[in-house]
């Protein structure tokens, strides 16, 4: 996974990213097989989210945001499909997908910054989920762009601890834009 940001629309999304929604067998080592494949073939992963799929204990869904500039998407999908534990791959172009991501951040607060912090959270639509006298923890479930925006806004505050989950995605309903 490359830490280098792409010169793209946001600091977290490459210009030509694709979302691969990968159904895998829920077996030991599956994630290592996927990560190992990407590493040895020189494919870049931007984010990766894993969770049990639907109600089946047998399968998991891995949502991988790949950099389609590091290698042709056809090559990434073709190699991924050869992993025996990979059951199905859905390739979602960004405009064909509904993407969401969760951001959690703890911000140190004091009297001086509290008002501007509350303004920032309100305009981002973020919720406060934990507080103590010197800090708040906030969350935002939104589009990757909304998470990017909040992350940038929080750069004005010192001592921020921030985590993002990486996105999950499903195909957009109704008319899909042509590829």
């Amino acid at each position: 996974m490359s830490p280098e940001p792409f010169l793209g629309a946001t600091s977290h999304t490459p210009v030509r990213h694709h979302i691969l929604s990968v159904l895998v067998e829920n077996k030991a080592g599956v994630l290592a097989r996927i990560a190992g494949l990407f590493a040895r073939r020189g494919f870049n992963i931007y984010s990766l989210a894993v969770a049990p799929a639907e109600s089946h204990a047998r399968f998991s869904r891995v949502t991988i945001v790949v950099d389609a500039e590091s290698a042709p998407l056809e090559q990434i999908v073709g190699q991924l499909d050869k992993l025996v534990n990979v059951v199905a791959i859905t390739d979602l172009a960004p405009h064909d997908a509904v993407e969401r991501e969760l951001l959690l951040a703890t911000i140190q607060t004091d009297v001086a910054n509290r008002t501007s912090l509350l303004d920032t959270l309100a305009s981002a639509g973020a919720a406060i989920v934990d507080v103590d006298p010197g800090a708040v923890t906030v969350m935002l479930a939104g589009t990757p762009a909304a998470c990017d925006q909040l992350e940038r806004a929080l750069e004005d505050f010192s001592e921020v601890e921030l985590h993002r989950t990486g996105r999950v995605a499903l195909p957009r309903l109704g008319e899909a834009a042509p590829h």
Partner: protein, 571 residues
């Protein structure tokens, strides 16, 4: 029926029709070696686990059936990593069984523990860590299914010691569904549209070349290839991995393409307007500088593995298929190129101008390595199987032996594993005891795995080994001479140390030596008379001999260097 996991493992191998296992026991695999005594399976006790792996490869490549190797955990398992990687590169069907420490000890750095499934993840088609004795039959059946279908390859089964020691109720999966491989779909329906587009491209073509790769052998498509080639009249080249897929004696065969390919084969590809790739993968040793490779050609790429399409070279038509099925489909639509008359005229002129040549050998020696290969080939039984190591001797064997049928040329292509030749020859002879098996080896390669001749002698496997002893790591020496100002860095081995004749005799083999032409003829005849024990011949060859033609690494195939005697004039 209650069985131990170990008994179930052996019984599962029997169910798969396994007749031979190459291996070496040790702590973690000990339980499995006990029921092996009562099995009909022949076990070949190797002297090093790498030998077991290469023997299994040789067996697989000679018979078309999966090779099976069994070793213990830790160093036993890591010693067989090289053959696994080799089989992965060359798509050779292999099932490798490794012992593992008991499940409760995994992750504790127990004695002889290593994460062999982790280590081999990138060099197996798939691997399994078996968690319970009840699962053993499924793992074995799935492993053979995976190894032999689609694009073949090595599959590893790691079996912890407590799993082989515990009890299970015997069962065996009878359908593919029971293998529990929901993500594995090796067969895809033929894309009729792609076939039609391929036919259209062929119809426009005036300068086609059938670029035949190892996949043609793997899909047993030699008969279909011959029929297609003869019906269309197209020229054929066979890559290093495909030697034997099309008869060398056939007039449409131009030989091997690539870095040390035949001039006509290399040049026909360069000038072609249509490349029909049949189970080949545009390896860098074939293409040279990729941007200059067959620059004017359209490409029909036929492969069972869709990840090969557009990986190296753009495919104008990508046809995911077994090679035999694809050729039949093209034949059914009567795919026919334009007249190839002027194309053949051009090709014949290249063949006439730049045949494969080597300098006349001197009567008193040293021997010419090419002449040694040609002489052994000339005296060999038809259908002789040839194996090799990796280096100059491998290229000379590929160039100067005439291969007429599938499974007669066994070498390490993609990985380039030195030391492959001797154990591969043993495996091939075990699989095809009716055939004569020659290993054309180099002195460097021989020293890497020669101890397996002890295995060959003790198991009664009479192979013949020809060492082209030029006292050097010859291919490296060639590069240092040509590209490093003759600065010979760490390539000298000595022709006399070790004494190959004494070494052969110490291993129970017949050891022979030839330094001049008379001796060469005599020792080949003598080797051919011996059919009960392995024979090793030390051929003293000229160190300065180089493999030609040659395309320098990274150069365009247009800049092919022919033999020095053919130079001068426009090249």
């Amino acid at each position: 029926m209650q069985l131990t996991g170990a008994e179930a493992l052996i019984k599962s191998l029997e169910q798969q029709g396994v007749d031979t296992v190459f291996g070496l026991p040790g702590g973690a695999i000990l339980p499995v070696y006990d029921p092996l005594i009562d099995s009909t399976i022949r076990h070949i006790l190797v002297r090093h686990e790498q030998g077991a792996g290469h023997m299994a490869e040789g067996y697989a490549l000679a018979t078309g059936r999966p090779g099976v190797a069994m070793v213990t955990s830790g160093p036993g398992a890591t010693n067989i990593v090289t053959p696994i990687g080799n089989a992965h590169m060359d798509s050779t069907p292999l099932v490798v069984i490794t012992g593992q420490v008991a499940t409760g000890s995994i992750g504790t750095d127990a004695f002889q523990e290593c994460d062999i499934t982790g280590i081999t993840m990138g060099i197996t088609k798939h691997n399994f860590l078996v968690q319970s004795a009840q699962e053993i039959p499924r793992a074995v059946a799935a492993a053979f299914h995976l190894a032999t279908t689609g694009r073949p390859g090595p599959v590893l089964i790691d079996v912890p010691k407590d799993v082989t020691q515990s009890m299970m109720d015997w069962w065996y999966p009878s359908t593919v569904e029971e293998y529990d491989l929901p993500g594995y779909r090796p067969e895809v329906p033929l894309d009729e549209d792609a076939v039609a587009r391929a036919v259209a491209l062929i119809a426009q073509s005036e300068r086609p070349v059938l670029y035949v790769g190892g996949g043609t052998l793997k899909s047993r498509a030699s008969k279909e290839l011959l029929a297609f080639a003869e019906r269309t009249g197209m020229p054929v080249v066979t890559t290093l991995m495909a030697r034997g897929a099309f008869p060398d004696s056939h007039e449409q065969h131009l030989g091997m393409p690539g870095m040390h390919g035949f001039y006509a084969a290399v040049t026909a590809i360069q000038r072609s307007d249509l490349l029909i790739s049949l189970g080949a993968r545009f390896d860098d040793r074939v293409t040279g500088k990729i941007s200059a490779f067959a620059a004017g050609a359209k490409v029909i790429h036929v492969d069972i593995d869709r990840a090969e399409f557009n990986k190296v070279r753009h495919a104008d038509v990508a046809l995911q298929s077994n090679i035999a099925a694809a050729l039949k489909a093209l034949d059914a639509l009567d795919a026919t190129p334009k007249s190839l008359k002027s194309w053949w005229k051009e090709i014949r002129s290249w063949q006439a101008k730049y045949p494969l040549v080597y300098d006349e050998p001197a009567v008193d020696g040293p021997l010419r390595p090419q002449h040694v290969v040609a002489s052994i080939a000339q005296k060999a039984d038809p259908g002789t199987i040839v194996t090799s190591g990796v280096g100059q001797h491998q290229m000379w064997a590929a160039q100067f032996w005439q291969f007429e049928e599938p499974g007669t040329w066994i070498n390490s292509g993609g990985a380039g594993t030195m030391g492959f030749g001797v154990p591969a020859a043993i495996g091939a002879k075990v699989g095809r005891p009716d055939r004569t098996v020659w290993c054309i080896d180099g002195d460097g390669c021989f020293q890497m795995t020669a101890q397996e001749l002890v295995t060959a002698r003790s198991e009664g496997i009479p192979i013949k080994v020809a060492i082209l002893n030029n006292a050097y790591l010859g291919m490296v020496r060639q590069w240092q001479e040509m590209f490093y100002d003759e600065r010979y860095s760490e390539v000298y081995l000595s022709a006399d140390l070790p004494d190959y004749v004494k070494w052969a005799e110490a291993m129970g083999c017949v050891g022979l030596r030839a330094t001049n032409l008379k001796e060469m003829e005599d020792v080949i005849d003598e080797a051919n008379r011996i059919n009960d024990v392995p024979v090793v011949i030390d051929f003293r060859t000229d160190s300065s001999e180089k493999v030609f033609p040659m395309v320098a690494s990274g150069a365009s195939n247009d800049d092919i260097m022919v033999h020095p005697s053919q130079r001068g004039g426009a090249m």
